[in-house]
């Protein structure tokens, strides 16, 4: 049932207005914080107010206007979009609090918080986009508004990372644009409201080109190897940026785009008939394992997290490519599971850096005696990535493995297991170092990070546990993922 409602537009607009207010009045720390926090809360309120309706199958739509004749700037809240929006607007609040604490000694804070709000605005725009052109519009804007955040430090290294970031993502954007053109030319519509709009009659060759173009375009931000190069270098950005953008907003925008292409542009049926996703599934599996191997050898804390992100994102891609309901559930749920666990880790990395100045993993010996709560949160996230039951990551792994079996592709289960081991191999040593490799004579001497850094970290860690334990509770994100899957598979 479709209901016309202003709220789908309101959600991105709120952060957009917030950005404007920050640029105008943000020289005063109070107003900067006030606008950021109140917009974050308001926006979460708006998004959450639509949640019960979405759960019951109501779809909120709002067509803003005709952008070009025939193609509207349209917004549409379905279960999949809602899922992404809930995750990103929840995390915006935590990251804002964290950023207020973290950015204290930094320069150009007005710019930082302004563009930060713009990023969230575009992310929710991506989530609620009704058609591919609207999606592209926000996808491309996201690239532009994250650029000032990536080069925030204004060092030559930052400029280099910024250039690399733009090169990769703009080429990706160009591919998406071409894909959009091809789709419009082929089917005469760009809507994302159907479980697939293309048919075999559109010609195998065109469809293949279209699939490759769109997947490559979105795959840049989703960091599918070999398109992942920008992500590790973009880690020069301040930690809250890495946290929200490179673990959540930007990369998930890519993954979300891939999901939209697979489920709403092509549709599961067509892809099964055409057998287009097999190579992508293998590429995802390759990315999962290779990125994990690379992560093993990173000593810089944030770089190790970055490669772990590359690896984890491909879970989503793999889940989507298997084209079974179980795997799809895992793919969608992993948007949240990975986001909360990874953001916890980035918060930890940032908190350690701000409190002790340490950025390399080998320096972390005994840190658990100084910052036990922070490291506790890290442990929770690490266990989640390894896939220990009761933590969020387990839910993904379980359903993804079931989905692989459902698709008759048992070898992906082996990939899952190997990846779990690799995750253990690069995350648990950090935990081990922190608690058990303390230099002799270290005593418990608590010098925790300041509360603005610590509280968001712990809350996110608690979320990870909550996502892992309450998967079957109605009203939790997981049931949203289920609702999305039911729509996609026509169940």
């Amino acid at each position: 049932m479709e209901v016309v409602d202003i709220r789908p537009v309101l959600a991105p607009t709120l952060s957009f207005i917030c950005a404007g207010l920050i640029f105008m009045t943000g020289r005063k720390a109070f107003w900067r914080r006030f606008w950021s926090l109140s917009a974050a809360l308001l926006k979460l309120g708006v998004v959450m107010s639509m949640l019960p309706g979405t759960m019951n199958g109501t779809v909120y739509v709002f067509k803003l206007m005709d952008f070009t004749p025939g193609i509207g700037l349209g917004f549409r809240v379905d279960a999949l979009g809602m899922f992404f929006a809930v995750v990103s607007s929840t995390l915006w609040i935590f990251t804002t609090i964290y950023a207020i604490g973290y950015m204290e000694p930094e320069h150009a804070k007005v710019r930082f918080f302004g563009f930060f709000a713009l990023c969230v605005s575009t992310t929710v725009g991506i989530a609620f986009a009704e058609n591919l052109l609207t999606l592209f519009l926000f996808y491309e804007s996201l690239t532009i508004v994250t650029y000032p955040l990536v080069i925030h430090e204004e060092t030559p290294e930052a400029f280099k990372a910024g250039r690399k970031y733009l090169t990769y993502t703009l080429i990706g954007g160009a591919l998406v644009l071409i894909g959009t053109v091809i789709m419009y030319q082929t089917s005469g519509t760009l809507t994302l409201s159907q479980p697939g709009v293309l048919t075999l009659a559109d010609g195998t060759r065109t469809l293949t080109v279209l699939f490759v173009t769109l997947i490559a375009g979105f795959g840049v931000k989703a960091a599918i190897m070999p398109l992942h190069g920008w992500l590790p270098s973009a880690m020069v950005a301040p930690t809250p940026v890495s946290a929200l953008l490179h673990a959540v907003a930007v990369v998930k925008a890519g993954a979300f785009g891939v999901l939209r292409v697979i489920y709403n542009v092509f549709g599961v049926e067509l892809l099964r008939q055409m057998d287009l996703t097999t190579w992508l599934a293998w590429l995802a599996a390759f990315t999962i394992l290779t990125a994990s191997f690379v992560a093993l050898f990173q000593d810089n804390f944030k770089r190790r997290l970055a490669y772990s992100t590359v690896s984890q994102l491909s879970y989503i891609i793999l889940g989507a490519c298997l084209l079974t309901p179980m795997a799809a559930t895992a793919a969608i749920a992993h948007i949240a599971n990975q986001a909360f666990a990874k953001i916890t880790m980035f918060f930890v990395a940032g908190a350690i850096q701000r409190t002790t100045g340490k950025t390399s993993i080998h320096e972390l010996a005994g840190i658990g005696y100084r910052m036990p709560f922070t490291m506790g949160a890290f442990t929770v996230a690490a266990l989640s990535f390894v896939g220990v039951p009761l933590f969020a990551g387990f839910v993904t792994k379980w359903y993804l493995s079931l989905g692989a079996l459902e698709a008759g592709a048992w070898w992906f289960v082996i990939v899952m297991i190997a990846s779990a081991l690799l995750n253990a191999a690069y995350f648990l040593p950090i935990v081990y170092l922190a608690y058990f490799k303390a230099p002799p004579g270290t005593r418990l001497h608590i010098e925790e990070a300041r509360p603005t850094l610590l509280v968001p970290t712990i809350v996110c860690a608690l979320y990870v546990i909550m996502l892992g334990t309450t998967a079957e509770v109605p009203g939790m994100p997981f049931s949203l993922a289920r609702a999305a899957v039911r729509f996609v598979f026509g169940m």
Binding site: M65, T68, P69, L137, E154, A174, V181, Q185
Partner: protein, 496 residues
């Protein structure tokens, strides 16, 4: 009011009279000259508005000078394409306003009345160019705008300016002669100078060689005027060295007359119905694609901000010409609307750059570092212009890119769709350098942090244009659907 038949003459007569009288009225009184020319342009805009309202209501209409029927009389014809007078008047007004403070600082006082006179003449030439229905008049108006253009480039009196103007003059004069030659050929073959008439008579011409020669001549000459690669060499110097408001007019409008001429030639030949234009189309599409890439390539190496903008014009002309050459509905619509949108965007950029140069005295990217902190509004406008010209949604540049790319696929030539979209990325490379130097790099000259915003008469035009860049992106369907019937009519006559 709207239906008063003489608006179509008035729109030429008003600025022409104003231009001729400017040196008399404004002699030794630069301020009066400025106000006089602004007033003239405002009046012209009223006439233009009436014409556009009328064409939107009832479609194309003609005006026979002295009521002489064609082919003997001179016909003025106002169709949807002629609605470009809107952008000519708008940019004219804003550039004149911008000039008020700008030329006072950069041109010798005794020359100022002549400057305004020439600028008005230039605008008159363009208005005449787009509303005339007569091929010989087309040539005359082209000469008016070209000659005033050469003088405007040279007006600062600096040595480099004279050189640039001379280069422009040589290229321009040769191309004008070729146009004249082609017009002569067509007259010899058809016995008419009226475009609609020629179009009808061409269908029955059996000896095709002179006709095709005329078409080739016109196409080549207009390509020079449009600065299509490799005929662009006159453009960068001329556009970069001219005073900034003139650069905005030259880059935003004057080069478009070349494209517009091509469009008129197409109208004639499509109208005739039985000419095969595939060869010309192919040439245009390729040259367009090459222009996009080469323009961007040269621009990357420019340090001078105006030089960079000048090269970027070559890329954008490439878009438009490619759209024309694709000869598909979407491509054609995208191209014609880009004539309009690019004018807005490029004027934003040139006037913004002019404001920076006026306030800081620097014109290279290195020298301008950090200016974003001291002139935030101007730099914001420039950034919006940069985003528009690269074609990032939701700005004005995006829609045209989208339409022309769609046109490439519609015409069954997807390669050019790719070339267009990836060529645009090239363009981004140097605009991001500009944005970096404004905002993110440490100033080379610390005193740049203490200059203030430009005066209101310069800031306002820049901001108006930047706003339009955004508005035209969001309300892009308005020009698109306005021009659509004209394009369909033009393509529809071609082989049914």
């Amino acid at each position: 009011m709207v239906l008063w038949p003489h608006w179509l003459v008035a729109v030429i007569i008003i600025p022409l009279t104003g231009a001729v009288l400017t040196p008399v009225v404004g002699r030794d009184r630069p301020k009066v000259a400025s106000l006089w020319s602004l007033g003239t342009m405002a009046l012209t805009s009223v006439a233009a508005t009436m014409l556009i309202i009328r064409v939107a209501q009832e479609g194309p209409f003609s005006y026979m000078l002295g009521d002489w029927a064609r082919p003997y009389g001179i016909e003025l014809r106002f169709d949807e394409f002629s609605a470009s007078v809107a952008i000519i008047c708008l940019l004219g007004l804003l550039a004149l306003m911008f000039s008020y403070r700008y030329v006072a600082a950069s041109i010798h006082e005794s020359r100022i009345p002549y400057y305004y006179s020439l600028l008005l003449l230039n605008l008159t030439g363009m208005i005449g160019f787009v509303v005339t229905g007569d091929l010989f008049n087309l040539f005359v108006f082209m000469e008016i705008l070209s000659l005033s253009g050469y003088a405007l480039v040279a007006i600062s009196g600096e040595r480099t300016a004279e050189m640039a103007a001379f280069k422009y003059l040589v290229m321009g004069a040769v191309s004008s002669l070729v146009v004249l030659f082609s017009v002569g050929l067509l007259y010899a073959v058809t016995g008419s100078l009226n475009m609609a008439d020629i179009s009808e008579r061409l269908a029955g011409v059996t000896d095709r060689l002179p006709v095709m020669l005329a078409l080739a001549g016109m196409a080549m000459a207009f390509m020079v005027k449009a600065a299509l690669f490799p005929l662009h060499i006159w453009l960068p110097d001329a556009h970069a060295i001219a005073p900034s408001p003139v650069s905005a007019i030259l880059s935003g409008l004057v080069v478009k007359t070349g494209v517009f001429g091509l469009l008129r030639a197409y109208q004639i030949f499509y109208g005739a119905g039985n000419y095969d234009l595939t060869g010309l189309n192919t040439a245009l599409v390729w040259l367009g694609a090459i222009s996009i890439v080469m323009g961007a390539f040269f621009a990357i190496f420019q340090e001078d901000i105006k030089m960079m903008l000048a090269y970027s014009t070559i890329s954008n002309i490439g878009y438009i010409v490619m759209g024309l050459g694709l000869a598909s509905q979407y491509g054609m619509i995208g191209a014609t609307v880009h004539i309009f949108n690019h004018a807005l965007i490029k004027a934003t950029l040139f006037l913004g750059a002019g404001a920076l140069i006026h306030k800081t005295g620097y014109r290279t990217l290195t020298d301008l570092r950090g200016v974003g902190k001291s002139m935030p509004l101007t730099c914001m406008a420039l950034s919006i212009g940069a985003i528009s010209i690269v074609g990032i949604p939701p700005t004005a540049g995006f829609l045209c890119k989208w339409y022309i790319a769609l046109g490439a696929f519609q015409a069954g030539q997807p390669f050019f769709g790719f070339a267009l979209v990836f060529g645009a990325l090239f363009i981004f490379v140097y605009y991001i350098r500009m944005v970096n130097s404004f905002y993110f790099q440490q100033p080379t000259h610390p005193e740049i942090l203490s200059v203030g915003e430009a005066p209101l008469s310069m800031l306002a035009p820049v901001l108006v244009l930047a706003t339009l860049c955004l508005v035209m992106g969001i309300l892009g369907r308005l020009p698109l659907s306005f021009i659509e019937p004209a394009v369909l009519r033009m393509l529809g006559t071609f082989g049914g």
